[in-house]
Amino acid sequence: MRHVVLSLSLALSTVGSACGAERDPVFDGVWEGTLEIVGTHGSGQLVDWLAEEADETEARLQLRGESVQVSLGGRRLGPAIGFRIAKYDAAALVYSASVEKGYVGSWQLSLTKVDADTLLVFAWRVRSSAEGEAVAHSTAHALSGQLKRAPSRRGRE
């Protein structure tokens, strides 16, 4: 029972840290727009967030304090460790990493405010697969574009 209580307190502190984030009027809100695929590396294998032969994708960022949700092509990206954000004045870095089916994948999205309601985004998606003997093969996609702040349903963000 003592272990359950200890676990409960640890779990609550973990979840609470995510939910109790400070509000940030600079970046908080929903940002939407189109990101163009501006570069690729490696094989042309399809990725689940990009329609076949598409050269751009719809993007949606939902930021609230330290909490970040990223959707591309209408699909929410969901690495188990979540996305993290590091902010510097009017710029920010959103990044994540995941391990899945023999691949190590990472996302980095560089954000810079263009004006109060516009974000300039440059993103890299990198995936590396292990084929044993310490040799890895990587694929990468670069995306760039501007996202606009979506009107808040509550009119407060």
Binding site: G39, I81, K113, L120, A134
Partner: protein, 197 residues
């Protein structure tokens, strides 16, 4: 949610939080960001834990075989994209800047070759997130009415070869944001080799 499932979820979240914080997946980041449907999150965390802690995919061995990011890496990048308003003195599409990254114990020095190697000066220096076979090298700063954001995703190809995917974005600082659109971005990628001498 059934009671026994709830207790299981509490235990797994607690263990997962501690394990992920300690695992090196995101070194130096003590708290996981739990969002989304709890059962979906639980499944994902279980899958990641299964792979990370049991080593069924051999990721730990792979990481050890590829070695740490620490070291000196040199090579040239190809600039693959830039916004139309890129300043004349900065990189343009087709440029092949030479880059050096020196990684040591969670921090990095990034140098660009002009006549000689010149360090990219950012307050606080570059930070490093060392993942399995790759990671991030990043820095950001605000000074003199401008912000700039250097972000490099890196991926090991073998112990002595590092793929680098760089983005640089810059713009006006918050206090000068109303002065007008001046934000620009550039992306580059290339292969760096470990310098051994």
């Amino acid at each position: 949610m059934r009671p026994q499932v709830g207790v299981r979820a509490v235990l797994v979240f607690a263990i997962a939080g501690l394990a992920l914080a300690r695992s090196g997946i995101v070194r130096g980041q003590p708290i996981i960001n739990v969002t989304g449907d709890p059962d979906v999150v639980l499944e994902r965390v279980l899958q990641d834990l299964d792979k990370e802690l049991d080593g069924k995919l051999g990721l730990r061995e792979w990481r050890e075989a590829l070695g740490p990011l620490d070291g000196t890496w040199e090579g040239s990048l190809a600039v693959i994209a830039a916004t139309d308003n890129i300043p004349a003195q900065f990189w343009h599409v087709g440029d092949r800047p030479e880059l050096q990254i020196v990684v040591e114990r969670g921090t990095a020095v990034v140098r660009v070759k002009m006549d000689d190697w010149r360090a990219v000066n950012v307050a606080g220096g570059f930070q490093v997130v060392d993942l399995i076979g790759g990671g991030f090298v990043y820095a950001g700063q605000s000074a003199n009415g401008w912000v700039e954001n250097w972000n490099l995703s890196v991926a090991k190809q073998d112990p002595d070869t590092l793929m680098v995917f760089l983005s640089f974005v810059a713009g006006r600082s918050l206090e000068r944001l109303a002065a007008g659109d001046a934000a620009f971005a550039v992306g580059a990628m290339g292969e760096l080799k470990r310098r051994t001498e």
